[in-house]
């Protein structure tokens, strides 16, 4: 692979440059128009790109907002290590929020199922954190190509005081004119990567040499197979079913979430280039590997209305 070629080519105005410029414009617009901004950092590849864009948007300064990670306590250990290391390297302000009420109730994906766990630890956890600090704008890494209902979501997506999304009352966004007006208690979710696709994200990571969690790269890991999904045995909290023996397989992840809810794929991709090749060859869209999206045909739309990011 030839990084030098890519570096010189980046001075021209390609479509990735256009996506980058648009995302930077969106981030600067939020910061200028809102009082208290936070960037949701989920540690995944989209968050890595988002953080990289934020560093560029406010250069030579630092991003004028903190990062917020809503920790469900079931993330992969490598994700947490990566999160803390990156925040330190870049010198950005990182906040971690855990829904203590959920912890006290012992909510977990295995004991309570994916839907309740996600609702309590992720959706309600996020709402708690936003209310606690009074953030009126939260920047997130969602893309319109991820899901049918996201294809219609605005870049500045309005939430009422209860964090609900009303798909029938969305504000038109002509040109690049975003409307950040809101009442007290209401907030805006902002999606600078709206017009990016999964492939764009990987090409950009490749071009800009952006660090991502090592879980995206294949290596031998202990896994168990459950209804066509490969679940990694990341720590001893995963109860093994009778007769179940973890096998060592060469696997990696296309998306990262809570480890018992995120399926691995068998792969030999050990570099970003390999991942891009695999993505191009792949005949499956990425969210298939996340168990929660299979809860129902319109489940993402419903979760979003309830305040899931």
């Amino acid at each position: 692979m030839n990084t030098a070629t890519l570096a010189t080519a980046s001075s021209t105005h390609s479509y990735l440059d256009q996506l980058e410029a648009e995302s930077i414009h969106i981030m600067r617009e939020v910061v200028a128009e809102c009082d208290k901004v936070v960037m949701l950092y989920s540690i995944g590849k989209d968050s890595s790109v988002l953080l990289h864009l934020a560093m560029k948007a406010f250069y030579p300064g630092k991003p004028p907002f903190p990062l917020l990670h809503v920790d469900t306590t079931w993330k992969f250990r490598e994700m947490i290590e990566f999160r803390d290391r990156r925040a330190k390297e870049l010198g950005v302000d990182l906040m971690v929020h855990i829904n203590q009420d959920g912890v006290a109730r012992g909510i977990g994906p295995i004991s309570h199922g994916s839907e309740l766990h996600t609702d309590v630890m992720k959706t309600q956890g996020l709402r708690q954190a936003l209310d606690l600090h009074g953030f009126d704008a939260a920047i997130g890494g969602a893309r319109r190509d991820e899901d049918k209902s996201r294809a219609k979501e605005r870049i500045f997506s309005f939430r009422n005081a209860h964090h609900r999304w009303d798909p029938k009352r969305q504000r038109p966004e002509p040109w690049r004119l975003f409307n950040a007006h809101k009442r007290k208690g209401e907030s805006i979710r902002v999606f600078p990567l709206s017009n990016w696709t999964e492939l764009d994200v990987w090409l950009y990571i490749h071009r800009e040499n952006i660090p991502v969690v090592p879980l995206y790269f294949a290596k031998p890991r202990p896994v168990v197979k459950r209804s066509e999904t490969l679940v990694i045995v990341d720590d001893n909290r995963l109860p093994l079913e009778p007769g179940e023996v973890p096998q060592i397989k060469n696997v990696r992840f296309r998306t990262l979430g809570c480890y018992p809810l995120t399926g691995a794929i068998e792969s030999t991709a050990t570099s970003v280039e390999d991942i891009i090749r695999e993505t191009l060859d792949s005949r499956f869209s990425e969210r298939r590997d996340r168990v929660i999206d299979q809860d129902g045909s319109s489940s993402m739309e419903r979760k979003k209305q309830e305040g899931y990011f």
Partner: protein, 528 residues
């Protein structure tokens, strides 16, 4: 990793290594409810090999077509969005789709066809390079089709791709195709500087979508995909004036002060003279800062941080404009308005205006006109605009703002109106060449600084360019007449005759000079 060398892997590696050469095309797809837009877009993606297996599985479940051959699936359901829409079997909202071929990445604004959702179409068209307009070959041109073309052209879309669909239902008839093309072209005269391409397609059979149709040998033009991949969208205004609205002031350390923004027009270089508008302060660009290092030039669409050579007062909402070609500064705007609010837009209404990065309070002043999109843009005097109507009015602002005409620059010539109570975005505005300021404003640009009683020309009900022509005519006349009088007096030595000649000359020549000047205005030849 060991990659075998085969054509597929070469094409795949081209995506990794050659994507820097790939361009971005934004287009809007519009069509009436039954013209087959979703089917056509679905077919476009399927034939281009861009629909994934699990999407096809989901499609089979949704349609109940569990065993039908894959080519016969109802691809329109690929684009079915919200559950609310599926329940009501209609498309409510503008959706964005993405796909990429080896040549281009496409961002598609998929606009619902219903008349009441004009707002979605206008929104999608505002950033589109081209418009894909669907026509049902059986139904021919409809009022909806004309409406879509009018909205697209109004919002500055310069290329229309007219896909005449359902050709299979008219026996692939060349005559039907030619008749629709001719009728559209006759109407297209009204759209101004817009080029149109006509493609006969069948979404159901995939004819001329990605693959050439075996049924229409008479058609020699490009397929839809070929057209989308090759249409030239380089900005026409190569010599556009530099514009950048200041989004945010960057002050990370006491000795750095940078102005962040996305370049909305032209090109900038260090050393270039600029004007900060509306304040009118003049200074120069010191440097163009980006995280990838300082640039020696930057152009339209780039997000940059500019530093200036002098310590001038610049804040969010100011426009940094080319020193020799500034924007207009005015507290009055004449504009064409798409009204999207629930109630009506009427004189006296008060709103927040967002123009570039600047905000102000705006009130609506008369007179108001409706541009009736259902009657090929017939203009009618009205006292208010109803929801989803398009018209013209004047806005009075509580402070002067810098702007261009929409025809000169889409970014600096557009605005939105925001309702002060609901905070909704209720209108899209397209600025006509700005009206001259009613009050003297600091740093008014050269074009607004008319050195005579500023509102005099308004008594004549004419616009600024005509007023300027008239002023030049009068000053030239006074000088010319004095000379004529003196010459006539020298030759005839008779004051009465000399006076008569001057009077006749004044009347005749004023009229001729005025028309001569207006005729010259029509000729762009020799202007810088």
């Amino acid at each position: 990793m060991n990659i075998p060398v085969d054509p597929v892997s070469i094409a795949r590696d081209a995506v990794i290594y050659n994507h820097e050469a790939k361009s971005l095309l934004r287009f809007i797809a519009c069509g009436s409810v039954d013209h087959g837009k979703s089917s056509l877009l679905g077919r476009l993606l399927f034939d281009a090999g861009l629909v994934l297996d699990d999407q096809i599985d989901a499609l089979r479940k949704d349609t109940g077509q569990l065993t039908d051959p894959v080519e016969d699936l109802d691809f329109s359901l690929l684009f079915d969005g919200l559950a609310a829409e599926r329940e009501q079997k209609i498309t409510i909202d503008l959706a964005y789709r993405f796909f990429a071929t080896e040549k281009r990445k496409f961002i598609v604004a998929d606009a619902p066809g219903h008349e009441q959702y004009t707002r979605n179409m206008a929104t999608g068209a505002s950033t589109a390079d081209i418009a894909l307009i669907l026509v049902n070959a059986q139904a021919g041109l409809t009022q909806q089709t004309r409406r879509h073309a009018l909205i697209a052209a109004t919002l500055g879309v310069r290329h229309l791709v007219v896909a005449i669909n359902k050709m299979d239902l008219v026996a692939y008839s060349q005559a039907t195709f030619a008749a629709i093309e001719a009728e559209f072209l006759k109407f297209a005269d009204r759209l101004g500087d817009v080029s149109s391409t006509f493609i006969p397609v069948s979404a159901r059979g995939g004819d001329n979508v990605v693959k050439r149709s075996p049924h229409m040998g008479w058609y020699r033009g490009p397929t839809l995909m070929e057209k989308l991949e090759t249409v030239d969208v380089t900005p026409r205004a190569a010599n556009q004036a530099f514009r950048m609205a200041v989004q945010w002031v960057s002050r990370p350390t006491p000795d750095f002060r940078g102005y962040c923004g996305m370049i909305a027009g032209g090109e900038v270089r260090p050393g270039m003279e600029i004007l900060v508008q509306p304040s009118g302060q003049r200074t120069r660009i010191a440097s163009i800062v980006t995280a990838n290092g300082e640039l020696d030039r930057a152009g339209v669409g780039q997000s940059v941080t500019l530093t200036l050579t002098d310590d001038v007062d610049v804040s969010r909402g100011d426009l940094i404009a080319e020193g020799t070609r500034p924007a207009h500064v005015s507290d009055r705007l004449d504009a064409r308005i798409f009204w999207m609010g629930q109630g009506t837009l009427a004189p006296g209404g008060r709103y927040h205006i967002k123009l570039g990065t600047a905000s102000a309070a705006a009130s609506i002043a008369g007179p108001m006109q409706l541009i009736d999109l259902a009657e090929d843009a017939a203009v009618k005097s009205v006292d208010r605009l109803m929801s989803n109507e398009f018209g013209t009015c004047r806005l009075e602002l509580d402070r002067p703002l810098a702007a261009d005409g929409y025809n000169q620059n889409r970014e600096t010539g557009s605005f939105i109106l925001i309702d002060a109570e609901s905070h909704d975005t209720v209108a899209m505005g397209l600025i006509e060449v700005p009206a001259i300021a009613a009050t003297a404003t600091r740093g008014a640009s050269a074009m607004t600084a008319v050195p005579m009683p500023r509102d005099l020309y308004k008594l004549f009900g004419i616009n600024a360019n005509q007023a300027r022509s008239l002023a030049k005519t009068l000053s030239w006349r006074v000088m010319g007449s004095v000379v004529t009088f003196l010459v006539a007096l020298l030759v005839t030595d008779n004051t009465a005759i000399a006076s008569s000649i001057v009077v006749a000359e004044i009347v005749i020549k004023i009229a001729f000079y005025y028309f001569h000047e207006r005729i010259w205005l029509l000729a762009p030849w020799g202007r810088s």
